[in-house]
């Protein structure tokens, strides 16, 4: 199960990167990156998963004393949370940039924005 999720994550990353590196439209590039980011998140969660254990929340079902034997690793989850939020930040920023770029040239074709070169 973990392998399936992990493979899915990797495939999503590759697909996202493919989309981001081949599409000319800036918005599509951003969309593709968000797919890749989802893939990364899946991998992070999958790495932290342990078979047959529960979420890292203590309650009646998971008393403190048994926690170490019952819960899955909480660290990757904490990391994913951060990663998701940061991903949103970058995506938003890219969108705002895309909007401004469009405003300047009336196009979203990335190859049209290559005045700076060499």
């Amino acid at each position: 199960m973990v392998q399936i999720a992990m493979a899915t994550g990797f495939i999503l990353i590759l697909m996202g990167l493919y989309g981001a590196l081949t599409n000319h439209n800036i918005l599509r590039i951003i969309v593709s990156f968000s797919v890749a980011n989802t893939g990364v998140n899946i991998i992070l969660v999958a790495v932290g998963y342990m078979h047959g254990r529960t979420a890292p929340i203590l309650n009646e079902a998971v008393p403190v004393a048994e926690a170490a034997a019952r819960i899955i690793d909480p660290v990757p989850q904490a990391l994913v949370l951060t990663a998701i939020v940061i991903g949103l930040g970058i995506t938003t920023l890219m969108l705002a940039f895309a909007y401004k770029l469009y405003e300047r040239k009336g196009t979203l074709d990335i190859s049209k924005f290559s005045e700076l070169k060499w």
Partner: protein, 1057 residues
């Protein structure tokens, strides 16, 4: 001590607080920004003081009241403190610099700036890999925000490209982090580093690779760095300064350094390779740049690559690691930030537009200091760092790395110095009238911006002093000559009279004080360098005004020369060598049309200097203070290589054939009083080096070839071809310059003979050449000054107008051509003795032939300039100025004296030399008796020769007067050309192309093969650079693909290791 966390707290708190201020409270917002940066800087400085002065040890800062690895911790040590200071100061100064833009954009921009600085501090401090990721993302986002400050509209697309790249980077980094966590069970760098290496095999090392490559990408390695160049080109210069100095140059490289704790030794070669590739490639591509900020961007990429390479070599650097890496890092940070700040003053973006700086000595000084820092010239930290680095690399036999580092440095120096040439020599761009409104002014000298630049300047010199203190050698600042030279920087406002007098007095005084310390060989050189220099400086009195820039440069050269003579170990020798090179470069560059020549001079000189550096490093084998005398004890397998490197290095300075192409232009285009200095004096530095080398290392064999024998041939060829090329010159100063090449060939030949007579003759040449070449350059310079041209065919008949100059030239050429009775003959005489006493007959022939050839061109000096018909425009001409004539007359006297009593000086030297050539001395030494010198082949007694020559001369003269007593004066008349129109004015002069028949016969010998070779090489480099930079297409997507390719390819290579 304030907790380190407050650096982050203050940065963040102030950023949040800025949001509370009203939009229009910009003063308050700005004050808050500056105030918080100052307090952050204060904390960092306080810690630095704690570590550096109070002897504190590294401190761990825990957060959340929990020990690592369970909570994030920060570490503060000396390296962190220094880097924090760099980051915060670059932020603070940039905030001051771009205050106007910050005001325009308001509190939001200021808080972005604060977060940027805070994030970089976080990258440096944190010991947690995921925390590192968070801070990197913050820095990335803040970068995108700060790009908006730029007035360049393209900054927006540059920012977008960067965001694309950072998406890729964060994917790689996260994958690396999570799998590293999986295999090691920790996110703390030190804990992971402590995990046994076995767990880091397999996916552990793969995971590490992903982290490393992601963080490396932030250091902008070639070729995955197109986006960075676009940012450098388009961003606000103050931001580029931070981006280069703080983000790439400090934070990113330190993150790499930290990560390598996890990866361990086996990853060091990868980092080295990437760093070196970036260093060489970026500097190569920079050759083809014309945009100033982009050029700086390339240079920045290169420098960061160099730092990475140093990080990759830390397994062998040991205790010197921080000193070396720090020296290069700080030099880069200060210099690059300073250059970017200067670029903000300049309104247009072409490199040549920087010519507007010309009228501002302080800005020129800043520029020079910064490029010297980048090029690793003394006395800046990068010099000490590079020296140590090269020493260690040579000792550890990592010669390829050494070669690449020096190659990159040379490339970098060449475009930086080319740029400096533009500043001093290119036309100042003019502002089009109708464009005034919509364009920024060509040069805006805003006080607060200048303040920022000058604080970088002050920092650069402060660091130079500091690194001198920290180094294992004496601080170069304690060298009296250097201080003397630098003090002229403070005297720039006084007039030439005072400065010149001070300079002469200083040089003479230094010679007098040091006199007792010199051995006979050193006396000769010191006398030429210092006293000889003082005599030439007399000519400088003819200049009026303040002559800004001349005295610091000239004194720097003389300081280098003075230090060279007394240098006992390789470090001081090399430092002195660099000083005299830089000083002379500045002097040569002063000439009117000397830009390209000065450039080729500095490139050849630095190239030669790098060879010398390598030679010393190989010889020293890790010895810290390597005494020059120990060259004699260098062991067999490397000794010939050391010899070869040093010899080529020194021969670059003496302009041996093949390495000579810089000389004619450099010497000919220099100012009237500079030409004699660089020709009469500077060339001797190379001979001095060769003497030191030969004296200590003697004969060396490489693959069975006797190296001194090769040198002998080079000397002979140089003498022959140099003279031959001189024959066909039309430009009087160029003629003299080529003649110098030939003369140096004689000296080289004499040294390479490796017997006492040869050496004596070389020393004779050293003295003679100084005297007559200085004299000739001065008199020709004086003539050129009066006539306004250096082309001989435009002159003629000046004997009546400038009789003193005529006498000087006459005496000079008699001396040069080695006919009796002057000292030149003495030189020749010893010379022929020397040749006869050795067995090399073939090169000897060449040397013999060169003699008459020399006469051919020398004859022209008299014949074309002073005899013949006077030109109409020259009828009102006066004798050369008194101050130019005075040294010439001194030389005339000196030549006479030296001709009569050559033994005065030489006999001591002879005695000094004899122990070095015990076996040849036994065979054919000289016998000094009174004024007469006896050798196996005859004797030379100056007085009788003088008398005989005088009698012959008197008789001939009398006969001539008698024969010509009825000669009539003829008026000038027009020459009528039958059926031919003289399209070119020079063809109407009989002396033009005077030796055309010889040219037909021997012209093939002087085809500029060598020049063409070097030109082709240069062109090739430029073509390659121009071709390969097209690789950066400007398309953000392509950059991303390049990054992807970079990752995959690096991994494939990594498998190979």
């Amino acid at each position: 001590m304030v907790n380190v966390i407050f650096i982050i707290v203050i940065g963040l708190g102030a950023a949040f607080l800025l949001g509370l201020l009203r939009e229009n409270w910009r003063n308050a917002a700005y004050a808050l920004t500056i105030g918080s940066l100052v307090s952050m800087a204060w904390i960092a400085a306080r810690w630095l003081l704690f570590f550096a002065v109070e002897g504190g040890t590294t401190v761990e800062v825990f957060t959340a009241g929990t020990e690592p690895p369970f909570a994030i911790n920060l570490r503060m040590g000396i390296a962190e403190a220094v880097l924090l200071l760099v980051v915060i100061f670059s932020g603070l100064l940039s905030a001051v610099y771009m205050s106007k833009s910050l005001f325009r954009l308001g509190g939001r921009a200021m808080s972005v700036l604060l977060v940027f600085i805070m994030a970089l501090c976080g990258i440096i401090l944190t010991r947690d890999i995921f925390n590192l990721f968070v801070f990197f993302e913050l820095a990335v986002i803040a970068t995108a925000g700060l790009l908006l400050i730029s007035e360049n509209k393209q900054a927006l697309s540059a920012g977008f490209k960067y965001l694309i790249i950072s998406q890729l980077v964060s994917v790689f980094l996260l994958i690396g982090i999570i799998f590293t966590y999986h295999v090691s069970g920790s996110l703390n760098i030190d804990t992971i580093a402590g995990v046994s290496l076995d767990t880091m095999k397999g996916i552990g090392s793969l995971a590490f690779f992903f982290m490393l490559i992601a963080v490396l990408t932030e250091a902008k390695p070639f070729p995955a760095n197109g986006w960075a160049l676009d940012i450098y080109e388009s961003a606000h210069p103050a931001f580029s300064a931070m981006f280069s100095a703080a983000m790439a140059g400090s934070a990113a490289v330190y993150a790499v350094d930290k990560l390598l704790l996890i990866g361990g030794q086996q990853w060091l070669p990868v980092v080295t390779a990437i760093g070196l590739l970036s260093f060489v490639a970026a500097n190569l591509l920079a050759l083809a740049q014309t945009n100033d900020r982009r050029t700086l961007g390339y240079s920045s990429v290169g420098q960061v690559g160099l730092i990475l390479a140093v990080i990759g070599q830390r397994d062998i650097l040991g205790d010197n690691y921080l000193f070396i890496a720090g020296g290069i890092l700080l030099s880069h940070a200060v210099a690059k930030a300073g250059l970017y700040w200067i670029s903000g003053l300049i309104g247009q973006r072409n490199l040549t537009d920087w010519a507007v700086l010309r009228r501002h000595p302080m800005l020129i000084l800043s520029f020079v200091s910064f490029i010297a820092m980048l090029s690793g010239l003394p006395p800046f930290p990068s010099f000490y760092a590079k020296w140590d680095l090269v020493m260690i690399l040579a000792t550890e036999n990592r010669l390829w790395i050494l070669a690449f580092i020096l190659l990159g440095s040379l490339l970098e120096a060449s475009y930086l110095f080319r740029w400096f040439g533009y500043i001093l020599k290119r036309e100042t761009p003019r502002q089009e009238k109708n464009e005034v409104e919509n364009k920024s002014p060509l040069l805006s000298l805003v006080p607060h911006k200048l303040l920022v630049i000058f604080s970088a300047l002050a920092t650069s010199w402060g660091l130079a002093y500091l690194w001198g203190e920290l180094s294992a050698y004496d601080n170069l600042f304690y060298a009296l000559p250097l201080l003397f030279a630098l003090s002229f920087l403070l005297l720039e406002w006084v007039s030439v009279w005072i400065k010149n007098t001070l300079a002469i007095a200083g040089m003479v005084a230094y010679f007098v004080i040091s006199y007792p310390l010199y051995d006979p060989l050193q006396i000769i050189f010191a006398a030429i360098f210092l006293l000889g220099g003082a005599v030439i400086l007399l000519a400088s009195y003819h200049v009026h005004g303040r002559r800004i820039g001349f005295y610091p440069s000239a004194m720097l050269m003389f300081a280098g020369l003075a230090m060279l003579v007394v240098a006992e170990d390789s470090f001081h020798f090399f430092a002195a060598w660099e000083f005299l090179t830089i000083g002379s470069y500045f002097m040569i560059l002063r000439g009117k049309n000397s830009e390209p020549h000065a450039l080729s001079y500095i490139i050849f000189s630095l190239g030669g200097a790098f060879l010398i550096l390598t030679g010393f490093a190989l010889a020293a084998q890790g010895v810290v203070l390597f005494n020059l005398g120990s060259l004699a004890h260098v062991a067999a397998p490397i000794a010939p290589w050391v010899f070869l490197l040093l010899a080529i290095g020194f021969m670059t300075k003496t302009a041996a054939i093949g390495l000579h192409i810089w000389l004619p232009g450099a010497h000919a285009e220099a100012e009237t009083d500079v030409s004699p200095m660089v020709s009469g004096i500077l060339l001797k530095a190379g001979l001095f080096g060769l003497m030191v080398l030969l004296m200590n290392m003697g004969k060396q064999q490489l693959y069975g070839i006797e190296l001194t024998y090769v040198m002998l041939w080079i000397g002979a060829l140089t003498a022959f071809l140099g003279n031959l090329m001189a024959v066909f010159q039309e430009d009087a100063k160029r003629l003299l310059a080529y003649s110098s090449i030939g003369q140096m060939g004689y000296a080289l030949f004499g040294l390479a003979l490796m017997n006492q007579l040869g050496w004596l003759m070389a020393l004779m040449f050293v003295i003679n050449h100084y005297i007559y070449k200085s004299m000739l350059f001065l008199s020709v310079g004086g003539v050129a000054k009066r006539t306004g041209t250096r082309d001989m065919y435009k002159m003629g008949g000046l004997i009546a107008m400038m009789p003193l100059s005529f006498i000087a030239v006459l005496i000079g050429i008699i001396a040069v051509s080695g006919v009796p009775p002057l000292s030149g003959f003495g030189g020749r005489w010893i010379f022929y003795n020397a040749i006869l006493s050795s067995e090399y007959r073939l090169p000897m022939m060449l040397i013999f032939i060169s003699g008459p050839i020399a006469f051919l061109y020398l004859f022209r000096l008299i014949h074309t300039i002073f005899l013949g018909q006077l030109k109409d425009d020259h009828r009102q001409i006066k004798e050369a100025p008194f101050w130019i004539m005075l040294p010439q007359m001194i030389y005339v006297a000196a030549l006479m004296v030296f001709a009569v009593v050559p033994g005065l000086l030489l006999r001591h030297v002879d005695a000094y030399l004899s122990p070095f050539f015990a076996e040849s001395a036994a065979r054919g030494g000289l016998n000094w008796q009174g004024l007469t010198i006896t050798s196996d082949y005859g004797y030379w007694s100056p007085i009788p020769i003088m008398v005989i020559i005088a009698i012959i001369f008197a008789l001939l003269f009398a006969w001539l007067v008698f024969v010509n007593r009825k000669a009539q004066k003829v008026k000038q008349f027009n020459i009528v050309y039958s059926a031919e129109r003289p399209f070119r004015p020079e063809t109407t002069h009989f002396a033009w192309n005077f030796f055309a028949p010889y040219r037909k016969a021997m012209g093939f010998l002087i085809q500029p093969f060598v020049t063409r070779f070097w030109e082709t090489l240069t062109e090739l480099l430029h073509t390659i650079a121009d071709l390969f930079r097209r690789f950066y297409t400007g398309n953000g997507q392509t950059y991303a693909i390049q990054l992807l390719a970079f990752v995959v390819v690096v991994y494939l290579f990594r498998v190979e290791f």
